[in-house]
Amino acid sequence: MKIPKRGIGRRGLLAGAVLPVTAPPVAENAELATPPWTRSQGASVLESPYGRPSPFEGRVIRRPRGNPPVPTAASANTPLQDLHGIIVPNGLHYIRDHAGTPTIDPDQHRLLVHGEVERPLLFSMDDITRFPSVSRIHFLECSGNTPLWQAEQVNPRWTVQDTHGLLSCAEWTGVPLATVLAEAGVKPGATWMLAEGADGAAMTRSIPLAAVMDRAILAYAQNGERMRPEQGYPLRLFLPGFEGNTSVKWLRRLKLADAPFETREETSKYTGLLPDGSARQFVFIMEVKSVITHPSPSPTALRPGFREISGLAWSGNGRITGVEVSTDGGGTWQSAVLQTPVLPQCLTRFRLPWTWSGGPARLLSRATDDTGAVQPTRDALIAARGTNSDYHFNGIVKWQVDASGQVQLAL
């Protein structure tokens, strides 16, 4: 390892001079300069009591896919192309609001548990956080993620943030739903649970108890800190592997019953219309899916030579068991390396070494989960469900690399 030379005399001369903001370019064969940040004190530990990313990372932000006409009933996507590993920082977790993000005083927030229970109870946040807690790392994906059903609605300039950014992953901490329901006492006839938010949409979904009692969390923390307002502060339902909207944010009410409530969000919305005019309802599970995040569509062209391919795979049904990658449009496939730990209902990072020789290439990934389910092609999905399903697109996507190194979404 080379140790940079230090021009002690010159540093003395420059003291007090106006320093350039960035280090000057290194002239060929010149002595390596000592940059200004090496010749001065940095910022005080008191300057940023709640830390922020480097100012040079300002482009790494959430963005809506287009220009939402009503920004409080809209979504903002996670910049997957700029992230590493599997954990999404709290400020970059995707947002889907139906009536904006409310500002809720946790001291005034209450959770009402009633309906088919022995004892209707009202819990404060102090009550909720006194219960035994669990922490689990899970992905959350909006069922409207990856809107590639209709070719005419696809923008060839979309990035992976646009196509897959309604996907995030965090460590969620809270009390198991089963613990709180046991406190109220579930009556034998209770099979469904209405979950209602305290936002202006009073967002409401019916959840089948048998499918979630072993996994649902009433979450109040996200990656170690109390959950962000846009994620449901102070309390959200979290249903691992289920479509995102069922993890009702700003949770204020759980009502147990013997049948689903047929709310607007499970009839008019979040249902999948089939070609015969019937619609799939209560499509809860986000099925096996993957996407290559590096490289992915970008204004910056690839350079020939070594380039690691890396991406994310996940399944609402369980663990990822394998990801295959093709660089020739699906002609041949290679097994990618899975980064451990591989957790159920969690993002799994996969990697494959690749050398781009400079010619056209087409990059695909295909995931398999521990139920044996294999990520389908777009053609297979459309053959099964038509093009008006709106939700639950988990098909293989293709990144087209042209001879100049430009990467673009291809159908």
Binding site: L112, H114, P120, A202, A279, I285
Partner: protein
Amino acid sequence: MALLSGKLTRPGRCSLRFEWRLCLALSLAPVAAVAQPYGFGEVATPEMIAGWNIDIRPDGTGLPPGQGSVGEGEQVFRQSCAACHGLHGEGTTAAPALVGGIGSLATAKPRRTVGSYWPYATTLFDYIRRAMPFNAPQSLSADQVYAVSAYILNLNGLLPDDAVLNATALPKVVMPNRGGFRSVYQSVGP
């Protein structure tokens, strides 16, 4: 307890806390201690629950007293809904169409509206009451929600011009797509 409890109008009103542990100790009821493992939370009385218990089920359970006519609903709609949904519920860039599309679901260009897609009229009442109008959710009276529900169903040709909706009449409205949904839930979970 009835004196201590109030309807849940806003969270801050529930300040009179009722400690289950204390209650159990005073009532000498050790059986209940087993049933409620931690003793957290306060009893939610029917009076308290009434403030938040706004869901309506397909059979009409939960519908409040009150009534509203198609004609009254037109007035409510013009005042509170038309700015986003269009004067006749045709939709704008800000909000979806509420009217039309009946018979279109099996075509290449399906139009999903209240009339063509929604399986239950009760859901219309539930959703308007909880989430509309967009700029002032939960501000309409029960009469106004019945009325504007009647008007939207009338625009879809599902109610006559002189119809009046109440808790009895609303669940009886048969929506065209009532049988259009099939649950895929049975493939889920244990």
